[in-house]
Symmetry: C2
Subunit: 342 residues, 2 copies
DNA sequence: GTGAAAGCGCTAACAT
DNA sequence: ATGTTAGCGCTTTCAC
């Protein structure tokens, strides 16, 4: 076993209380006691044990993070933001992924709660119908949603306005002259954001009297390949949309690859607009048009919000604020004006 | 305070030992005691407190992960692999990033050790000269390096053979007829892998009697922009290399963007080869040629290795194995045969 | 300024 | 099969 405060006390010839004091409030210890203790700490290679401290304190200075997957850059960036902000505040981060499986959400949260994390930052499949969040609410565990943008309940969250952002993106396509605009998404049931973005698409289409097309819903939210049936649609010039609005950038880039594979050009044959604004999109040729959300900032703000909730427990009604960060429509070569000759 | 095993015992009318037994070895508890306890657990919403358990056990069933940054997909994938494998074994993951700052490595590790993680998976700037690893060795903390491929010390690691992989990549370029091949890298002092890859480049060049060019060393390892001086080199057809071997894919994609910006075409004017084989490289047009390493698998294997070391403490000499995973040269349109007319 | 002692939640002897 | 108890490492009264 590694040396404890006890051996340090023994070695330094003081009581464990004094050692503890030096560790926490160095000023309250006499100079020579401090000297002896520091010497003992050095000699023994003592390192405080947070487990003991946490047990005693009832806090862990640790936050949990639960996201679908790190394969999507967006969540990796967000986690990076959380971690950076946490480290600045001397918090540690426990990380879990759910692979978009709703049943894994509760298991992940249970594990974090068993570890007695002080709070949780998470993205769930559906923030308005989540038994996991019900648990958190009931048990008054501080948490902040990221990317989720709950509609009904007063659940704290940090996100862009998904509907509005999608609306902006689609409106942009419409202004470029597109009328046959279709949405491509991963399964809606695993992502309420995707559904909200679809609503934004619908709204924009209706505002301009355009026909809302049935979205192409594919099995995965990350690297995906179009099915043969879907490819058939694109092969037929009379069937294919002139512009595609994708629920995230990974899907957008995947579909661009698939379109190239069947001989279609982007943007000449099909314009493609993504969502997320992942950094790699800017390195593509043509550059990927996308609605950028500030992922790292989302993570950072979520952490700040969470820490505030942890450290200033408001027993009255929690100020469960929905924090909306600005999105940006990033224009790139993957979309072009609609041209009747194409 | 949340209910403890104590309140459960009280509520169920049994001793805390019996509750503990039900939690750990359910068979050793009578049917009706189990019934009462489960009822009490349900009623109180009891959740075991790992802090207490860990303090008692001297273990935490938690591993720490330290990597430079999640902005590089490679590390995100690796962390994903670690997390998945950890969850399967009921381990939790504490995550930290260092932003490629060597001084942050030791701070990160110190924090993890204070949390009493059972072991650490990490990537350091230089595995052969790391005071952080010295500490870990001295204190006999189980750890496994990822991506690092230590040369001298017997430090456990999981990686590809960086030198060999780079050698393969450059040999491929040479076989395509390239003779002016230059390496582009982030700062070597922050990445021993990059240096090893450079050595692989050197070796391949020398084997074919080609001139080793001074590498272009840029300040960052992730999204970077070429400086004006470097761009000048590329503008001059007599100065620029016909092929560029980059120390990672992010740099490769960045430089491709920069080359496009000054009117050069990839691969017609310059062939570009990356390293890592990030998934997005395959979605590019032209597809990024790269040496692919199995990042998720690296993370997974590292976790498995670490858990083995944790659970089967070998007091003799630790079997510090350097585990090399196979790399693959992935061929894409970003490289082409060298043509004198170009 | 310092020490003695209680107790955070839990598990593992040891007893019965 | 169950209860009693010690103790993991730490902080924090409460005395002195």
């Amino acid at each position: 076993m590694r040396p404890s405060i006890k051996q340090v006390a023994l070695e330094a010839g003081v009581s464990i209380a004094t050692v503890s004091r030096l560790l926490n409030k160095p000023d309250s210890v006499s100079i020579d006691a401090a000297g002896k203790i520091n010497q003992a700490i050095e000699a023994l290679g003592f390192r405080p044990n947070f487990t003991g401290r946490n047990l005693r304190a009832g806090r862990s200075r640790t936050v949990g993070v639960v996201v679908p997957t790190l394969s999507n850059t967006v969540f990796a960036q967000c986690l990076q933001g959380v971690e950076t902000a946490a480290r600045q505040r001397d918090y540690s981060v426990m990380f879990t992924a759910t692979e978009y499986r709703q049943q894994d959400e509760s298991a992940a949260v249970e594990l974090l709660l068993a570890h007695r994390v002080d709070g949780i930052i998470l993205t769930v499949a559906n923030a308005d119908a989540s038994s996991t969040l019900d648990v958190l609410d009931r048990e008054r565990i501080p948490y902040v949603l990221v990317y989720n943008q709950p509609q009904q309940a007063a659940r704290p969250s940090v996100s862009v306005d998904n509907r509005d952002a999608a609306h902006d993106a689609v409106t942009h396509l419409i202004q470029l002259g597109h009328t046959r605009i279709q949405m491509l998404s991963g399964q809606f049931h695993a992502s309420d954001r995707a559904l909200q973005r679809y609503q934004g698409y619908q709204q924009a289409m209706r505002e301009h009297g355009l026909q809302v097309l049935t979205p192409i819903e594919i099995p995965r939210h990350t690297y995906a390949a179009l099915s043969l049936e879907h490819l058939q649609i694109f092969r037929d010039p009379s069937q294919r949309p002139s512009a595609l609005f994708c629920s995230n950038d990974l899907l957008a880039l995947s579909v661009m690859r698939d379109l190239r594979a069947i001989g279609l050009r982007v943007p000449d044959d099909v314009s493609v607009m993504g969502f997320d604004g992942i950094p790699l999109g800017e390195l593509m040729d043509p550059m990927l048009s996308s609605v950028a959300q500030p992922s790292e900032q989302i993570g950072e703000l979520a952490l700040r919000t969470l820490v505030r909730a942890i450290e200033e427990p408001q027993d009255g009604q929690p100020p469960a604020s929905t924090q909306i960060l600005p999105h940006t429509v990033r224009l790139g070569g993957s979309v072009r004006t609609f041209d009747f000759h194409s």
